[in-house]
C-alpha cells in the first residue's frame, strides 16, 4: 500500500498546488514538501527488509489483458533512487522558494515539479515495465513543461521541444523494446523479466530489443549522439536544471540500465554498445564543458560527461564496475545539484551566467563561493570528497577492461583524458568565477549573498560531499550495498569503500589528470583560440531547422497530394474500384454463364442503340449544356422504357417521374450557370479520363454479362408467395416497399425529406445574379407566364390530383403507389409554379412544405408504431377486407397509411427543393405575405 502512495502523493499534491499558491511562495513550498516527507516516512519501515537484500512488492490489477498492472517494487536500487528523488526534491523545493520571483506562476511551477517527482518515483518504483514506461514518458512531458516554464523565452520553448522530441522519441523506442521483452518473456513484471536473463539474451530478438531499450536509456540520459538536448534544456529555471537535469531525470536512463542489468547485460553487444557510447559521451561532454562560457552550459556538459562515465561503467559489464556506477550516481547527484544551485545563486545575484563577465565573486559572496568551490572540487575528483572515490573506482575499472591488443590502452587513456578536462573545467569554474580579477558589466552590481535559506540546500549537499568523501562506508555504505545487490540481482563482489586505496595505478591516473587539468587551465587561452577555429554547432538551430523543414516538406507533400482537386480525388476513387475489381474479374475473363444468351428482338436492340448513342453523346457533347441535358432526357426516357420492357412497370413510372423532376431541377440551375463548359483539361488528361471511363464501362459490361447469364435463386419466392396472403397486396414490389422492407422506405423518405430541408437551409441568404441574356445574347423574354400555358396548367392540377389519387390507391395491388403518386402531385404543382409564378402559386398553397415533409414522415412512423399496440414489431402491417353496400368488398390496409406518409413526404420534399431554388430568382423576391411575416417574426424571436 505504501508504495503506490509514495508515487501518487506528489500527483495529489500537484492538484492541490494551485490552491496553496494563493497563500504565497512559503505556503506552497511547505505544502509541496508534504508528499516527499510522507513518502520518506512511508519508506522507512521497509529499510529492514531491504538491507537484507529483500524486496517489497505491491500489485493491483489494471489491464490484465495487456499485462499491465499497477504494481510496485521496492528494493535497494529503487530505494536509492527514491531517496535521491525525494531528498534532493525537498532541497529543490526550498531553494525554489527563494529562486522564483513573487510575480511568477509558482502554482504552476510547483504543480509541475510535483508531477515530475511523482513520475520519477513511478519510474523507479514500478515493478511492471509498461507501468514504468508510462511514468517514463510522463517525465518527458513534465520536463517539457518545466523547461518551457518561461514560455515567453524563445530558447526555452525550443529547448523544451527538443528535449521532448529526443526523450519522447526515445521513449517510443523503449516502448518497442519493452514490448519485445514482454513478448520474449511472456510478462512485463520485473520479477519475471529479471529472472529470465538467459532466455532474453539467447533469444533471436535480443539484439533488437537491447538496441531499442538502450535507445530509450541513451536519449534520456543524454548519451552521445543524443546528448545535445541537455545543454539546451538549461533554459529552464535553475531548480529544474538542478533537479531534472543533473540529479534525477537524466539518471532515469542510468536507472533503466541498472534495473535491467541482470536481464540484458553481460553480452558482447551490451558491452560494445554501452561502453563505447559511454566513452564517447564522457569525452565529448568533458571537452565541450571546458569551452562553455555559460555557467550552466559548463555544468550541463559536465553532466553529459559524467553520465557518459556512468554509462561506460555499466557497459563494462563487470559487477564491480556496476557498483562503481551506482556509487557515482549518488556522488554526481550530490555535487552536481549543489553546483547547479550555486550557479543559480550566482545568476540570481549577478543577473548573468556568462563567466567572461563574472569574476572575483569571492569578494562579494564568500559563503556561496566556499560551497561552490567544495562542490567543484568534488566534481574534479579531489581527494576527501565523494567525487574522488567513485572516480578512483572508475579508473580502476577502466584499467581492467580487456580489449584486444592495442585497444586495451584506449579506456584508461580516455578516462585520463576526460579526467584532465574535468579538472580543467572545474578549475575554470572556481577560478574564473570567484577570482580572476574584477567583475565586468554585471547587470546587478554589487552582488550580495543570497537569502539565508536559499543557501541551506547547497550547504546540505556540500556537507554530503564531504561526509561521503571522508566516511564513505559509514555514510553511504549500506544503501550502496543494497542498491548494488539489487542491481546485480545476485551476490555483490567485494569492494572496499575507503578514502584511499594506497598508491596504485588509478591514483597515478588521478595525479596525471590533476596535473594535466591544471596545466590545461593555465594554457586556456591557447585552447580557447584553438577551439574557436571550429564553428560552434547550434543544435537548437539544427533542430528548429529540422522541424521547420520537416513541417514545410510535409506541407509541400500534403499540398501536392491533397491539392483540392475533385477531379483527382474522383479519379482516385474510380481507379481504386477498377484496381480492386480487376484481379477477380480478369480471372473470370469474359465468361458467359451457363444460362447462355437469350434471343434479342430488334425493336429493343434499336432502343438500346439509341440509349447507348445518347449516353455517349451526352458525354461527348457535354460542353453544350442544354444539348447535353436534352440528350440526358432521352437517356432517362429510354431507361424507363427499358424498365417497362423488362417487366418493371413500377420502376418505369418512378424513373420517368424522377427524370423529369431532375431535368426541371437542372434547368433551374442552368439558368444561373454558363451555357457552355469551357475546355480546360489538357488533351492528355482527357485521354486518361477516357481510358479510365472506358475501363469502368468495360468492367461493368463484363460483370453484367457474367451476372445475367448465371443461374440464380433468391429469397424472392417468399415475397411472391406471401405478398397476397401476408401483405395484402398483389403488387409485390409495392408490398416489399411498404411492408417486407418498409424500413428501407422509411429511410428513403427520410433521405428525401432531409435533402429538401438541407437544400432549404443551404439556399437561405444566398443571392444569385442570373444572366440577363441567354447564351445567344438575347435578352430574356418578358413574357413570364404564357397565357396558353396558364389556361391549361390550371385544369391540369385537379386532373393530376385525380390521377395521383388513382395511382396511389391502386399501388398496393397494381403498379403505382405513394411515391409515384406523390411525384405526380408534385409535378402538377410545379407546373403551377412554372405557368403562374412563384407568388401567385404560393398564395394559393396554404401549407408549408416543411410541415408536409414532417407530416409524411410522421404518418409513416405512426403507421409503423401502430403495431406496438398489438404487441407486434414496428412496421408490422395489417389488412382486412370489408364489405359495404353499394361499394362492395374492398381492402383496408395499414400499409396504405404508411404509403400516405410516403406520398406526403415526396410532395413536401420535391416542392421544398424546387421552390427553394425558384426563390433565388430576383423575380420572386416577394414571396407570399404570410411566409414573409413568419420569417420576420421568427428572426426577431431568435435574436433575443
Amino acid at each position: 500500500m505504501s508504495l503506490p502512495l509514495v508515487v501518487l502523493l506528489p500527483f495529489l499534491g500537484a492538484l492541490a498546488a494551485p490552491l496553496f499558491a494563493q497563500g504565497g511562495r512559503t505556503a506552497i513550498a511547505i505544502a509541496s514538501s508534504v508528499p516527499a516527507i510522507i513518502g520518506l516516512a512511508a519508506l522507512y519501515p521497509h529499510w529492514a527488509t531491504l538491507a537484507d537484500g529483500g524486496i517489497v512488492e505491491t500489485s493491483y490489477a489494471w489491464m490484465p489483458s495487456l499485462g499491465l498492472a499497477f504494481s510496485f517494487r521496492l528494493d535497494g536500487l529503487s530505494l536509492l533512487f527514491a531517496l535521491l528523488i525525494m531528498i534532493i526534491g525537498l532541497l529543490i523545493i526550498l531553494y525554489a522558494r527563494y529562486y522564483l520571483k513573487p510575480y511568477e506562476n509558482v502554482g504552476k511551477f510547483y504543480a509541475l515539479l510535483l508531477c515530475f517527482k511523482g513520475s520519477m518515483l513511478g519510474i523507479v518504483l514500478s515493478s511492471n515495465l509498461l507501468l514504468m514506461l508510462i511514468f517514463w514518458e510522463l517525465t518527458s512531458l513534465t520536463s517539457f513543461l518545466l523547461i518551457s516554464f518561461w514560455t515567453h523565452k524563445k530558447d526555452a520553448r525550443r529547448g523544451a521541444r527538443m528535449a521532448l522530441a529526443v526523450t519522447g522519441g526515445g521513449g517510443l523506442a523503449l516502448l518497442a523494446g519493452i514490448l519485445l521483452i514482454g513478448d520474449i518473456v511472456g510478462s512485463y513484471e520485473l520479477s519475471v523479466v529479471l529472472a529470465s536473463g538467459e532466455l532474453i539474451k539467447n533469444h533471436s530478438l535480443y539484439p533488437i530489443a537491447l538496441t531499442l531499450v538502450l535507445l530509450g536509456a541513451f536519449t534520456k540520459s543524454a548519451q552521445f549522439p543524443f546528448h545535445f538536448w541537455l545543454p539546451h534544456a538549461m533554459q529552464a529555471p535553475t531548480p529544474v536544471s538542478a533537479y531534472l537535469h543533473s540529479a534525477t531525470m537524466v539518471k532515469a536512463g542510468i536507472f533503466l540500465m541498472a534495473r535491467l542489468y541482470p536481464a540484458l547485460a553481460g553480452t558482447e553487444q551490451w558491452f560494445y554498445m554501452v561502453s563505447f557510447t559511454g566513452m564517447a559521451t564522457l569525452l565529448i561532454g568533458a571537452y565541450v564543458a571546458m569551452f562553455k562560457h555559460d555557467l550552466k552550459g559548463l555544468l550541463a556538459h559536465s553532466t553529459v560527461s559524467h553520465l557518459g562515465l556512468i554509462t561506460l561503467l555499466f557497459g563494462m559489464g563487470t559487477n564491480l564496475a556496476a557498483v562503481a556506477a551506482v556509487f557515482h550516481v549518488i556522488n554526481h547527484a550530490i555535487f552536481k545539484a549543489s553546483l547547479f544551485m550555486a550557479a543559480g545563486i550566482i545568476d540570481h545575484e549577478t543577473g548573468t551566467r556568462d563567466m567572461r563577465q563574472i569574476n572575483g565573486l569571492w569578494r562579494y559572496m564568500p559563503h556561496t563561493a566556499t560551497l561552490a568551490m567544495v562542490a567543484a572540487a568534488s566534481m574534479a575528483g579531489v581527494p576527501l570528497l565523494n567525487g574522488f572515490i567513485s572516480k578512483e573506482m572508475f579508473f580502476a575499472e577502466a584499467l581492467e577492461l580487456n580489449l584486444p591488443g592495442i585497444w586495451a590502452y584506449l579506456p584508461p587513456l580516455i578516462a585520463t583524458l576526460a579526467g584532465i578536462f574535468a579538472v580543467a573545467y572545474s578549475a575554470r569554474f572556481i577560478h574564473d568565477v570567484f577570482f580572476n580579477g574584477k567583475p565586468k558589466n554585471l547587470p546587478i552590481f554589487p552582488p550580495h549573498e543570497p537569502p539565508r535559506y536559499m543557501k541551506i540546500p547547497v550547504e546540505i549537499l556540500v556537507f554530503a560531499c564531504l561526509a561521503v568523501g571522508m566516511f564513505p562506508a559509514l555514510s553511504v555504505g549500506p544503501i550502496l550495498f543494497a542498491a548494488a545487490s539489487a542491481t546485480l540481482g545476485g551476490p555483490v563482489p567485494d569492494y572496499k569503500l575507503a578514502v584511499a586505496h594506497g598508491f596504485n595505478l588509478p591514483l597515478l591516473m588521478s595525479f596525471a589528470a590533476f596535473a594535466g587539468g591544471l596545466l590545461m587551465y593555465s594554457q586556456r587561452k591557447r585552447f580557447f583560440a584553438f577551439h574557436e577555429r571550429f564553428k560552434e554547432i547550434d543544435e537548437k538551430a539544427i533542430f528548429e531547422a529540422f522541424v521547420s523543414r520537416t513541417s514545410e516538406l510535409a506541407n509541400g507533400i500534403t499540398a501536392r497530394i491533397e491539392n483540392g482537386s475533385l477531379q483527382r480525388y474522383a479519379m482516385l476513387l474510380v481507379a481504386s474500384v477498377i484496381a480492386v475489381a480487376v484481379v477477380p474479374l480478369t480471372t473470370m475473363g469474359i465468361s458467359i454463364g451457363s444460362n447462355g444468351l437469350s434471343p434479342a428482338d430488334w425493336p429493343t436492340l434499336i432502343g438500346i442503340a439509341v440509349l447507348v448513342v445518347c449516353a455517349l453523346a451526352t458525354a461527348a457533347l457535354h460542353r453544350n449544356r442544354f444539348y447535353a441535358l436534352v440528350l440526358l432526357s432521352v437517356v432517362g426516357l429510354m431507361v424507363s422504357l427499358g424498365f417497362a420492357r423488362f417487366s418493371a412497370p413500377d420502376l418505369a413510372m418512378t424513373q420517368l417521374s424522377v427524370e423529369v423532376v431532375t431535368i426541371v431541377l437542372l434547368m433551374l440551375a442552368l439558368y444561373y450557370m454558363p451555357a457552355w463548359t469551357p475546355i480546360e483539361t489538357p488533351a492528355g488528361r482527357r485521354t486518361r479520363d477516357i481510358l479510365i471511363a472506358g475501363a469502368a464501362g468495360l468492367g461493368m459490361t463484363l460483370v453484367t454479362l457474367a451476372m445475367l447469364t448465371q443461374p440464380f435463386t433468391s429469397i424472392s419466392d417468399f415475397f411472391l408467395e406471401n405478398s397476397k396472403p401476408g401483405g395484402g397486396g398483389t403488387n409485390v414490389v409495392n408490398v416489399i416497399l411498404v411492408d417486407f422492407r418498409g424500413f428501407d422506405t422509411l429511410g428513403e423518405i427520410a433521405v428525401l425529406g432531409i435533402a429538401a430541408l438541407g437544400i432549404f437551409a443551404m439556399l437561405r441568404n444566398t443571392a444569385m445574379t442570373p444572366p440577363s441574356t441567354d447564351s445567344l445574347g438575347n435578352v430574356w423574354s418578358r413574357d413570364a407566364y404564357p397565357m396558353m400555358l396558364q389556361q391549361v396548367a390550371r385544369p391540369m392540377l385537379p386532373l393530376a390530383l385525380m390521377i395521383s389519387a388513382y395511382i396511389f390507391l391502386r399501388g398496393h395491388n397494381l403498379p403505382g403507389g405513394g411515391f409515384i403518386a406523390g411525384l405526380i402531385t408534385a409535378i402538377a404543382l410545379i407546373l403551377q409554379y412554372v405557368a403562374n409564378g412563384m407568388s401567385w402559386t404560393q398564395d394559393r398553397i396554404s401549407v408549408k412544405y416543411h410541415n408536409v415533409i414532417g407530416l409524411g414522415l410522421l404518418f409513416a412512423v405512426i403507421a409503423g408504431a401502430g403495431s406496438f399496440a398489438f404487441g407486434y414489431p414496428f412496421l408490422t402491417s395489417t389488412f382486412d377486407y370489408i364489405s359495404w353496400p353499394v361499394v362492395g368488398k374492398f381492402e383496408v390496409a395499414s400499409a396504405l397509411v404508411f404509403d400516405l406518409g410516403v406520398y406526403l413526404a415526396v410532395i413536401g420534399a420535391t416542392l421544398l427543393a424546387l421552390v427553394s431554388i425558384g426563390r433565388l430568382s430576383p423575380h420572386s423576391a416577394i414571396t407570399s405575405r404570410s411566409e414573409h411575416q413568419a420569417t420576420v417574426n421568427n428572426e426577431q424571436g431568435e435574436s433575443h
Binding site: 397565357m787 396558353m788 385544369p795 392540377l797 385537379p798 388513382y806 398564395d843 394559393r844 353499394v886 362492395g888
Partner: protein, 162 residues
Amino acid sequence: MLDRLTFPQPYLSLLLFIVWQFLSNGVSGASIVMGLILAWLIPQITRGFWPERRAFVNAWKLPGYIGIVLLDIVVASVSVAKLILGGREPKSIFVSYPLELEHPLAIAILASTISLTPGTVSADVSDDNKLLLIHALDADNADEVISSIRERYERRLKEMFQ
C-alpha cells in the same frame, strides 16, 4: 362555412367524376362512391387555384365541337401525310389572326383546336389577347386560313362562351 361542403366547381367535379370512371375502367358501385368523394374533395383542395366563377355557359355544345374537331383531325391528317411524304415543298405562312373571343379559356381552346387540326399551329397569342399568330404549313393565303378558322371553330366557341 356551409360552402365548404358544396361543389365549388360543378363542371370540374363532373369532369373529375367522369375521369374517375374512365380510370376505373367502367362504372361500378365502388367507382361511383370513390368518384363522388374525389369529385368533391379535389375541387375543395384546389379551390385556391380557381378563384374565378365558372366559365362555361353552353356546355352541351361541347360534344358537338369535339366531334367536329376530331373529324377535322382525321381528314386533315391525311393531307398533311400526303404533303410530308410527297416531297413537295410546303407553302408555309405566318398568319396574324384577329380574335373575336375574349375569354382567355375560350382563346386557349381555340388556339388548341388550331394546333390539333393538321396543317396549322397557333404559335402565339398577343399580350392583349387580341391577335393569334398561326403558322400554316401549307396554305395559299392568310385570308383563307382566317376565314376557315373563324367559321369552323371560333363561331362555335363564341356560342359556348357568351
